[in-house]
Amino acid sequence: MDIELIEPIYIAIPFFAAFIIAEMVYARTTGKARFEPRDSAASLAMGLGNTVAGVVFAGITATWLTFIQQFALFDFGYVWWAWIAAFVLDDFTYYWSHRWAHTVRWFWADHVVHHSSQHYNLTTALRQPWFGVFTLKFMWLGSWLVLLGFPPVMIAFVGSLNLIYQFWIHTEAITRMPRWFEAVMNTPSHHRVHHATNPVYLDRNYAGVFIIWDKMFGTFQPELEDERCRYGIVKNLGTWNPLRISLHEWWGIARDVAGSRSPKEALGYIFAPPGWSPDGSRMTSKRIKEIWDAERRHGEARASSEASTGSRLPAE
């Protein structure tokens, strides 16, 4: 049996627009969120281009998933529990797909687009890549769900629900959700951390819907009261041009590979973590965290030393 489902994202788009306007008004009246028209224009243009590209590339994914369906171990069909299982397992797959999108440069070249805004508002949620076809990472990673026995239509549907959920968490307008919700679900607070470039926040909170994956796999970082998020990427862009935003990391990979001195170096530039270089002259997130941590410890030691010296002074 097969069924046809409407693409939920198309239904959600008018609501996205309404919420964006509401957040703009909220930002204007309270000052608790930030919008800048050129940034908004770039994000929305990226979203529009991503939707167009999605229509084109969806055919590739659909063809692939339908092809592999014949090799599935089971046939779960459309029973109620399969929907719930598919939603949870799809989110688990999203976690790993997203984690690799930050730790493998080939995937980062695609995903960096989403992080390239220095703002964090609902338009940022729509800032999505145009050239996902270069990676098709979810197609490969999502294949296991179809091979297990979930229908491709179901996987596509729950995947769209996952993306729709992630829209509302791109906001500074909501400080914290109730404690129980923060414990289980991805929230604006958790996702602000993910979009921040403060060293303590780098490469944390990869979750889509359930934050439990980060807690299970050691990548969870709560938002700290005394560490305000600074959004963007380590080397922020000096352009609002959507084409440059789309292509910049691909361009960087091409240039690095062209200048590499061996196949091993070339592979490093493509598949090593973003910021990798053969001589270590650039900085990966790991290196940034190490430097930051060393400076922090040095600062604490100095403060402690000054405090103990100070405490001795009166006695002397």
Binding site: A17, R28, G238
Partner: protein, 137 residues
């Protein structure tokens, strides 16, 4: 035809949202208040940058250049919209530094993500001096 209409509609919707953003307002262009502030932002952004004593703030407050403590690079801070963007200018970073009347430097970077920048120093001599320094960086 339907696809074309949807595309036109989507383009109109995006334009409308940006128009609403402009109409509602609520943002202001960032300004760099002092060289010290620029040094703090550069240190925070570039992490390995230690500001030296030589630096210049653009007359309009939209840019700042600070030589590093070891004199091997220049930290460049640019106001962009309501935010700032930092770059470490090292030897080979600049493709061209042109001078314009009014002490203006037009910097062209070999950086796909930051193609060019306009720095208004308001002093022809200072502009000439910094342009020469940046060109050798």
């Amino acid at each position: 035809m339907t696809t074309l209409l949807i595309l036109i509609g989507a383009f109109a919707a995006v334009s409308a949202l940006v128009g609403i953003n402009v109409w509602i307002g609520g943002w202001s262009t960032s300004r760099i208040d002092s060289i010290e502030d620029a040094g703090r932002v550069l240190t925070q952004d570039l992490l390995i940058f230690e500001p030296g004593v030589t630096g210049v703030l653009a007359a309009d407050g939209l840019a700042a250049l600070i030589e590093s403590k070891d004199g091997k690079s220049v930290g460049y801070l640019s106001a962009r919209g309501d935010t700032f963007v930092s770059r470490l200018i090292e030897p080979g970073s600049v493709a061209r530094a042109d001078l314009r009347d009014g002490g203006v430097i037009m910097l062209h970077f070999k950086d796909f993500t930051f193609p060019s920048a306009r720095i208004t120093l308001g002093d022809d001599n200072a502009a000439r001096e910094w342009a020469a320094r940046l060109s050798t960086e």
